[in-house]
């Protein structure tokens, strides 16, 4: 039989594309190399890390803020094994959910490594042999995997990536994190809260450097309280596994050599597109310097029946970006004409306080010479934040100086990841800062802070500060 569409990779991009294709009446197949569906996000990314972040956050609150709340605990301790087990249960429930979605939408699932034989034939290497699938169209959604530095040997015991960090058997005494980006800060937070000493070595001069500078500063302030130590503008020169000890050496901004000793080293310097074994050479598709598959505006490769989405193509490596692309490609295959507004794909960091942002950063506006005004509102001034003892962080709104149109929203604070949705909706409709200032926000909520920051940006007239 010939499928209308075959999707290679079942991460959030791939499985969502499959569901949408099936909804549009296409006979759909999906190929997954691993035993469970869901890709990095569900198995070793977003979902398990959030599970551990929540567990560790509860522990941290119990340890540090419960007494202030008037809750007294004795013999508080971490059961890491149970935490990891619960995390695995969450992952299983979520991937089972994807299995259900495939059945519900009558999508055929093939377990094995998919590779191109030609542009309409895909070979699946299964545990019990090979199978070939004929297909009219293909969506490549093979995602990414953690990248490293050339001189670092990832032994996955002491020198680990995010994947291993989700399965540790003990709480590290001193975790050295190479790379102060989103993954490093999230996993650093998990172990920092559980009692690890955390040292972050970052090559650039700011944490989460792709986001607005204010966010990095706020996050640094907040995590410093957790005991994080930061080595910004430090260039890692070597990582050595000494058995029970890892030694990380780095060059300081002044050119001196720094040596950090810890028991674990998490390498979180980014992710790279994953196309190994895909057989791209058999269909004449090449990858660029960063290993990405080149696609046009419609996400179509140069082979006209093959599309690619998610981490394996250009753009932010985010699950929700891949999902949007999955839907768009499915609909484009069906002859519809949707498009993705890449500027308005929000970025989120699940530390506590969380960081979330959408639109232009202040640095980008400055660079483009755009006349803008800004307003911010600290959570210190929010009644809701005081009630929950979450007073770190702020909301920053950037608006067009002339038209008052919101150009960027950057939040570091409690539930920032959920709050950013309002900013995305506002910006999709090109709302002005004053528009948000004139929309009723329930009290007391964290989202009032967004309204206040908009009032500050629009006409410098916040009401509660």
């Amino acid at each position: 039989m010939t499928y209308d569409v075959t999707i290679i990779g079942s991460g959030p991009g791939g499985y969502i594309a499959a569901v949408r294709c099936a909804q549009l009446g296409m006979k759909t197949a999906i190929i997954e190399k691993y035993n469970t569906l869901g890709g990095t996000c569900l198995n070793v990314g977003c979902i398990p890390s959030k599970a551990l972040l929540d567990s560790s956050e509860h522990y941290h609150n119990a340890e540090t803020t419960f007494s202030e709340h008037g809750i007294e605990l004795k013999n508080l301790k971490v059961n890491l094994e149970q935490m990891i087990r619960r995390k695995s249960e969450v992952v299983k429930q979520t991937t089972d959910g994807v299995d259900y979605l495939m059945k519900k939408n009558k999508i055929d699932v093939f377990s094995g490594l998919g590779s191109f034989v030609d542009k309409n034939t895909i070979k699946v290497e299964k545990e019990d042999g090979e199978e070939e699938i004929k297909t009219d169209k293909v969506i490549i959604a093979t995602g990414s995997k953690p990248s490293s530095l050339p001189f670092i040997e990832l032994d996955k015991k002491r020198v680990i990536t995010s994947t291993e960090a989700l399965e540790l058997k003990e709480v590290p005494k001193h975790m050295i994190i190479i790379g102060g980006g989103i993954i490093g800060m999230e996993l650093g937070s998990v172990y920092g809260r559980l009692g690890s000493k955390v040292s972050v070595v970052e090559y650039l001069d700011s944490l989460i450097p792709t986001m607005d500078r204010t966010m990095g500063k706020e996050l640094q302030k907040a995590t410093k309280k957790l005991g994080f130590e930061f080595y910004l503008s430090h260039k890692v020169t070597g990582v050595e596994n000494k058995g029970k000890e890892v030694i990380v050496s780095a060059e300081t901004p002044k050119g001196k050599t720094l040596e950090l000793k810890g028991d674990y080293c998490l390498v979180s310097v980014g992710r790279k597109p994953y196309t190994e074994g895909l057989g791209l050479e058999n269909i004449g598709i090449e990858t660029d310097k960063q290993g990405r598959i080149e696609v046009n505006e419609d996400l179509r490769t140069k082979v006209d029946n093959i599309w690619a989405i998610g981490d394996v193509v250009k753009g932010a490596m985010l699950a929700h970006k891949a999902e949007e692309e999955g839907v768009v490609v499915a609909e484009r295959i069906a002859g519809q004409k949707p498009h993705v507004n890449y500027l308005l794909i929000p970025g989120v960091v699940y530390t506590w306080p969380e960081v979330a942002s959408v639109g232009h950063t202040e640095e980008a506006l400055k660079e483009s010479g755009k006349a803008y005004k800004k307003g911010s509102f600290p959570f210190k001034a929010s009644g809701r934040a005081r009630a929950s003892m979450d007073t770190d962080g702020l909301v920053k709104v950037l608006a067009d100086k002339e038209t008052d149109e919101i150009l960027g929203v950057h939040i570091c604070g409690p539930r920032a990841a959920d709050m950013i949705a309002e900013a995305v909706v506002a910006m999709e409709y090109r709302a002005s800062a004053e528009d948000i200032g004139r929309i009723s926000h329930a009290h007391p909520t964290f989202t009032e802070s967004f309204k206040e920051a908009c009032l500050a940006a629009s006409d410098n007239r916040p009401l509660n500060i």
């Binding site: 006209d304 295959i333 949707p338 498009h339 409709y429 090109r430």
Partner: protein, 521 residues
């Protein structure tokens, strides 16, 4: 002031409707364009919208049978000001800028009278016209006699002046075909002129009045025309540019519903998109552009096409040909060009010779100058010669009256006057009707020979063509002469072969020896 709401024209042959139900109650405040009641004709049910915002005063009962044009309701537009407007007369000086109608800030005062602007009778046999374009917008302040619209008829485009000064309220839309006598606009009559900035204020306040509470939503901002994510997808699929869609969302944003209702501008585009929806991208792409474009036929074009086909069907038309040695005329032109121009300030062209020659021949062969009117033949003792003129909108045939009595220079200047007006679209109906014979010159476009179609109800048409040097036998020798082929199409029902051929031979003789024109021999 109050605005009368009347039963609108709902279609040809419908003279009365039944008031099915009131959607709004007596005394309700209604917004502009809100549905106030439902009407039923014998063919359909339709909704009647409020033409202004205000308080509704019902003048007909449910179940009433109403004639087209009969009063159904009145809307008290003063009340749309949420209580602040109508009482403004006395204390207006205290807060002039916020008062309705500019009572004090400008000198213009509403008189309360609403004048209906109807399509005037524009000529015999014209029963309907097309609204070509509005020159003024709804809510504009117009002065008496100011042009407010262009009206297209079968024959011409005319301007439509305001019959009073005041605020213009449009009833018909551009492109509407309306009958003579139909109301296409109303003017809320005002006394005096608005002060310098009064007109814009006037506009603003009157828009406020009609838009009611929506004032803040109707302004143009950076976001006007911005399509929501769902609307944007729909527009892409329809191939409609968001610039072509009027957004109804806040500040003119385009909502999903706006996009769903958006019309593709041309049918060609629509088929293109629907085709691409069916087929997935694998269509081999043809090199080069393959767009087609559809336009609505203008009334003028429709009339031209209808009448030309009618001539073919209803007359016994045939064509006779001849050739004319143009050398004598060319010699005369060469010789007297300068002095003629000096004296009459108009060039000596071929048209005057042809017109004069035709007039002489028409006198001799009156049936060529006549026409059939049912069972009678009509002959004329004058020659009203229609001259075919090509204009951007199509062919028109203005008439040179009593051409038989005009001198050469009079004919030339009359043709120039008419042709210029024709190209500017300014010909009156009178200037285009009533010819007895037509001359058409395809030669100016390079035509060698053609069979012109009679301009009804006339019986014959002379076709001129280009002048080409041809070898001709003359007195037993071959000489090269400038020759024009001429063609006479005629209606055999009234003109016989002998008459038509003799007529054309006579024209030829007169042209080849213009001194005959002088002597009339």
């Amino acid at each position: 002031m109050s605005l009368e709401i009347k039963v609108p024209q709902v279609g040809e042959s419908i003279t009365e409707v039944t008031l099915a139900s009131w959607v709004k109650k007596n005394g309700d405040y209604v917004e502009m364009d809100e549905i106030i009641c439902e009407l039923e004709s014998d063919k359909a049910t339709f909704e009647l919208n409020a033409e202004a915002a205000g308080v509704l005063s019902i003048k007909a009962e449910e179940g009433d049978t109403l004639e087209i044009g009969q009063l159904i309701a009145e809307i008290d537009t003063d009340s749309s000001q949420n209580g602040s407007g109508s009482s403004s007369g006395g204390d207006s000086s205290e807060s002039p800028k916020e008062e309705f109608g500019g009572d004090s800030s400008s000198e213009a005062k509403p008189t309360g009278e609403v004048l209906e602007m109807k399509i005037p009778s524009v000529g015999e046999s014209i029963t309907e016209v097309t609204i070509g374009s509005w020159l003024k917008k709804d809510g504009d302040f117009v002065e008496m006699d100011e042009e407010i619209a262009e009206i297209e008829t079968d024959k011409a485009t005319q301007e439509f002046p305001a019959e009073a000064q005041g605020i213009l309220r449009l009833v018909a839309s551009e492109g509407d075909v309306v009958e003579v006598g139909a109301v296409i606009a109303k003017i809320e009559v005002m006394e005096g002129k608005p002060s310098s900035n009064g007109s814009s204020e006037e506009k603003a306040t009157s828009e406020d009045a009609s838009a009611g509470t929506q004032t803040s939503e109707s302004k143009e901002t950076y976001a006007t025309g911005h399509a929501s994510p769902a609307a944007s997808k729909i527009l892409s699929e329809k191939g409609v540019s968001s610039a072509d869609v009027q957004g109804t969302g806040r500040d003119g944003r385009i909502t999903k519903e706006d996009a769903a209702n958006a019309q593709v501008k041309s049918v060609a585009k629509e088929t293109q998109t629907s085709r691409s929806q069916v087929q997935t991208p694998a269509i081999p792409v043809q090199p080069g552009s393959r767009n087609s474009n559809r336009e609505k036929m203008t009334n003028l074009r429709k009339t031209i096409s209808r009448r030309l086909v009618a001539v073919k069907n209803e007359t016994a038309m045939l064509t006779t040909f001849n050739e004319v040695n143009m050398k004598p005329i060319m010699d005369i032109r060469k010789k007297y060009k300068e002095s003629f121009k000096e004296k009459y300030e108009v060039g000596l062209g071929f048209m005057s010779f042809f017109t004069k020659a035709v007039c002489v021949a028409l006198k001799e062969w009156p049936s060529v100058n006549g026409m059939i009117d049912e069972n009678e033949l009509v002959y004329y003792d004058y020659c009203d010669v229609s001259i075919a003129v090509s204009t951007p909108k199509g062919l028109v045939t203005p008439v040179v009256r009593n051409a038989e009595g005009l001198g050469f220079h009079q004919i030339e200047s009359e043709i120039i006057r008419l042709a210029t007006k024709a190209r500017d679209g300014k010909l009156s109906i009178d200037e285009m009707t009533g010819g007895t014979f037509t001359i058409t010159n395809g030669g100016i476009f390079g035509s060698m020979l053609s069979t012109p179609i009679i301009n009804p109800p006339q019986s014959a048409i002379l076709g001129m063509h280009n002048i080409v040097e041809r070898p001709m036998a003359q007195n037993g020798e071959v000489v090269v002469l400038p020759i024009m082929y001429v063609a006479l199409s005629y209606d055999h029902r009234i003109v016989d072969g002998r008459e038509s051929v003799s007529f054309l031979v006579r024209v030829k003789e007169l042209l080849e020896d213009p001194s005959r024109l002088l002597l009339e021999v």
